[in-house]
Amino acid sequence: MLYFVRRFAFFVATLWAAVTLNFLIPRLQPGDPAEAIVSRLAGRNEAIDPAQVRAVRIMLGAPDGSLLEQYVQYLGAVARGDFGVSYSYFPYSVTHMIGQTLLWTVILVGVTQVISFVVGTLLGTWAAYRRNSRVDSIITLGSTFLGTLPFFWLALLLIYVFAITLRWFPERGGYGGGSTPGWSWLFVSDAIQHSVLPATALLITGPIGWIIGMRNNMVQSLGEDHARLALARGLPRRRIALTYGARLAILPNVTGFAIALGGILGGTVLVESVFNYPGMGRLLLEAVSNRDFPLMQAIFLFTTIGVLVANFLADVLYGVLDPRVRRAEST
């Protein structure tokens, strides 16, 4: 019980820290969102029009009151779930923009993460089961090499080969220009087609961590006394590999996985920017470069909440999966 109280206190404290950080970042920055918007519009080869800067500044509105008052107001707004209006998508609200992009990210990265995890765990188990065999070498070395390819570079090559040269898949975006977003079969299949390349890039680089982690953990747990005793007890090899090797080895991977799922929102900046995917990562990148503080703050908050919740779930999950977990100790 106390454990949960502690976890919850940590959750709240971290959230507060993230929210406060979000509040401070824009206020510590040089530059002015209005200018950023106008100069981006003009491009570097044209003079910016002070009249337009002025109009945008009026449009966006300036916060008033002392820093403390602003902070209190801001906390109140965040508590109400009111993140304000996006600067770069004025007059659309931040909530609207996040609503537009969240699902794309969650589906693309979520699905590939799950597949990576499953594939990685299976391959890792296989490698450990056939330790020091050729299978093992192929799996570990192969995944090492594929897994270390720089993601964005791999993505470029995939686009070039499969989208531009072979034209098998669309080269960018989350869906075609001609389709109408919705839950129609037409649109969904279009979206799937668009997701093949980014998903491939993610799947090539994704499983390595799980493979290596699983393999090493399992090699270790198979070397322990209880696995030896299981062998002495005459249990079938496969059962030993599964219940004495994999079952124990998967525990840290499962928590790792929960955390990785929580990190989805944060880890997609590169994917989405290479593939022009209409997700939250690219939105964040745009928010950052446009000084779209409200949007940035909200995305940060969302990602932090995601990671926190995932961490929390990972802890709970660990408690469920591993009867040994000593709750009073883990903080």
């Binding site: 106390l2 006394d225 209880h226 002495a232 005459g234 079938p236 079952r247 124990l248 009867p323 040994r324």
Partner: protein
């Protein structure tokens, strides 16, 4: 036909980076149906390797390099994986030493029984059978629902035993099954085992380095030295008249603390390096009876006097007869209370005048509060304990595991503060009393110049990355302000004083390059470096082989006498307390239950708990131990 036949079994370790170690060489023996065979030997002599070889559980870099293991007519060494699997557990089961790790932590006990039955397609009335098994090891069926970590060490050990018997195997291999367990629990399990064997009639190969236990339990005892079986003989014969000098040395290091006079001897030196080929008898360098031929000719294991022995001298019948208790020609350590006589503590003799106490522990209580979830539980680790330490005298603190012994050591040394009560210290050269329970920072450091501690575990008390010289130099630099070459000189002196000579060769060694006994001496030397007045020794010999134990005890006894140290000797081993201490305090669950001169306490215990402790000591010399 014998149940198990081991023929010329050899096992080698061939790691890539080290020379090949022949851990087991040419070992042959048989075990009959229902027989209880003990395998005895010092640490590292190859007992576990032999056991794993029989079970075919060796994993690289170990492999069987020769010989056969035949179980009930089936050659295990040649059997394929599937064949082996069928034989395992139904015919040959085992209990490992490490009860902590031998059960799957994420499966309930129930499931582990179930999978064992399932693997061998035993379907009938599994549930009832498991309950019956647990009853046999005196466990409540409730434990079936538990995970291993929810059980205590003793319970896990009993589960492991029940599991080992689940398929009614014909042979059970027990590799140090009770090491690390508390004396009382250990006794309990061994008693269970004896009863079960009578009920079920399985044969046992019992591996241990604990002489008392093996001798008490086994019908026949094999003694292993440096990878070879050196003696094989029925237990009563062995106790009466061991034929191998090594066995005699081992037996000499053991004595019954309850007897009026206690003499123990020890075998100097260490076992040989198994990776180096050595002609002749391997025990030669340590053997008091060694002759020229021993160094040249390798003895065979030959029948001799109702058993087997591997000794040229013994085979020629030239080994002198000796009573059990001490091997002649071996250094003997006689506990001085016994030598000084019974009446000494009641009326201390003037020549050994008992000084004023340097340390007084006055009615201390230590309460630990642990929080687990919302519940807080508090344990009184120590309750109202008072004691005094005097120069030149050894006070032993004995008690079961968890009785609060280490807690007292921590209170006395200022590591921990008492919840109530006082710890007072008066230096020999001053009259001012120091309240130890209030010290902190600098004052505490100053205090530790006077009070030092010898740690229980010589393997963890030395930093593996630091040389012996470094370890010794720190107190010298900190307390005596020595600098430069003087430090090294003084460190060398200290090493010599604990019998590590020539000191030069040890100063630059790292702990792993030392044997357990050598490490323990280094730890002792470090504790002596500040020239303390009080020495707290927390189970300083529990981790060591019997033969080294006596050696260290002798060293400690000598130090107390020559330096007039006040010593608190903490142990759960009554034999060593009997050997070393003037006075014994018995602790039970934080309470001091008995206190008095050693012989009085050991000889005529008044408290039930003390008697329980005494009764838990294995008694191989008692003829009445086995029916029939």
């Amino acid at each position: 036909m014998a149940l198990l036949e081991v023929e010329n079994l050899s096992v080698t370790y061939a790691p890539r980076d080290a020379p090949v170690t022949r851990a087991v060489q040419d070992v042959s023996f048989r075990i009959r149906e229902g027989e209880f065979v003990g395998l005895l030997g010092e640490s590292g002599c190859g007992k576990s390797t032999l056991g794993n070889g029989i079970l075919r559980l060796l994993s690289p870099p170990a492999r069987i390099s020769g010989g056969r293991v035949v179980l009930d007519g089936v050659d295990l060494t040649g059997a394929d994986e599937e064949r082996l699997r069928g034989l395992r557990w139904t015919n040959l089961s085992t209990v490992f030493q490490s009860s902590m790790n031998s059960l799957n932590p994420v499966l309930r006990i129930e499931a582990q029984f179930a999978e064992t039955f399932a693997a061998h397609r035993v379907g009938e009335e599994v549930g009832a059978r498991v309950v019956e098994l647990l009853r046999m090891v005196s466990l409540d069926p409730g434990v079936l629902r538990a995970y291993p970590h929810e059980l205590s060490g003793g319970m896990r050990q009993r589960v492991a035993l029940a599991l080992a018997l689940a398929l009614r195997p014909r042979l059970v291999l027990l590799d140090e099954p009770t090491t690390g367990l508390d004396v009382v629990v250990q006794r309990n399990i061994l008693d269970r085992l004896a009863t079960l064997r009578h009920e079920l009639g399985f044969a046992v190969l019992f591996i241990s380095h604990d002489l008392g236990t093996v001798l008490e339990m086994a019908d026949r005892v094999m003694v292993m030295y440096a990878g070879e079986i050196v003696e094989d003989r029925p237990a009563p014969d062995l106790v009466r008249e061991a034929q191998h000098p090594y066995t005699r040395g081992l037996l000499g290091s053991y004595a019954d603390p309850r007897s009026a006079e206690v003499r123990v001897s020890y075998i100097p030196g260490r076992p040989p390096d198994l990776s180096v080929e050595q002609p002749g008898c391997r025990f030669t360098p340590r053997c008091p009876y060694a002759e020229d031929a021993c160094g040249q000719r390798r003895p065979e294991l030959r029948p001799d006097d109702g058993g087997l022995v591997r000794c040229l001298v013994a085979q020629d019948g030239r080994l002198p007869r000796t009573p059990a208790g001490a091997g002649p020609g071996l250094p003997v350590f006689v506990g001085f209370p016994a030598a000084a006589g019974l009446d000494r503590s009641a009326d201390p003799p003037p020549e050994q005048a008992v000084g004023d106490p340097v340390l007084l522990v006055d009615d201390v209580t230590k309460r630990y509060t642990t929080r687990r979830g919302l519940r807080t539980t508090s344990v009184d680790a120590v309750r109202g304990v008072s004691l005094a330490l005097r120069p030149g005298r050894v006070t032993a603190l004995v008690g079961q595991s968890g009785s609060g012994k280490t807690t007292i050591a921590r209170l006395v040394t200022g590591v921990e503060r008492p919840t109530s009560g006082q710890v007072r210290f008066t230096a020999a050269d001053s009259t001012t009393e120091v309240r130890v329970d209030r010290l902190r920072g600098r004052a505490l450091r100053d205090y530790r110049r006077h009070v030092q501690m010898i740690f229980q575990d010589p393997f963890s008390a030395l930093n593996p990355t630091r040389t012996v010289g470094y370890a010794l130099s720190r107190p010298l630099v900190n307390y005596h302000g020595l600098r430069g070459p003087a430090v090294r000189e003084r460190a060398a002196e200290l090493l010599e004083s604990v019998g590590l000579a020539p000191a030069g060769q040890f100063l630059d060694k790292l702990p792993h390059q030392l044997s357990g006994g050598q490490r323990q001496r280094v730890v002792t030397a470090r504790a002596l470096a500040p020239e303390p007045e009080i020495l707290i020794a927390d189970e300083p010999v529990s981790m060591l082989d019997v033969s080294i134990r006596a050696e260290i005890l002798e060293l400690l006894g000598k130090l107390v006498r020559t330096r007039r140290l006040a010593m608190l000797y903490i142990t759960h081993d009554l034999l060593s307390a009997r050997l070393l201490a003037d006075e014994v305090l018995v602790l039970n669950h934080g309470d001091l239950v008995e206190q008095g001169p050693t012989l009085e306490v050991v000889g005529a215990a008044r408290d039930d708990y003390t008697r329980l402790l005494l009764d838990s000591i294995p008694n191989p010399f008692s003829a009445a131990r086995r029916p029939g």
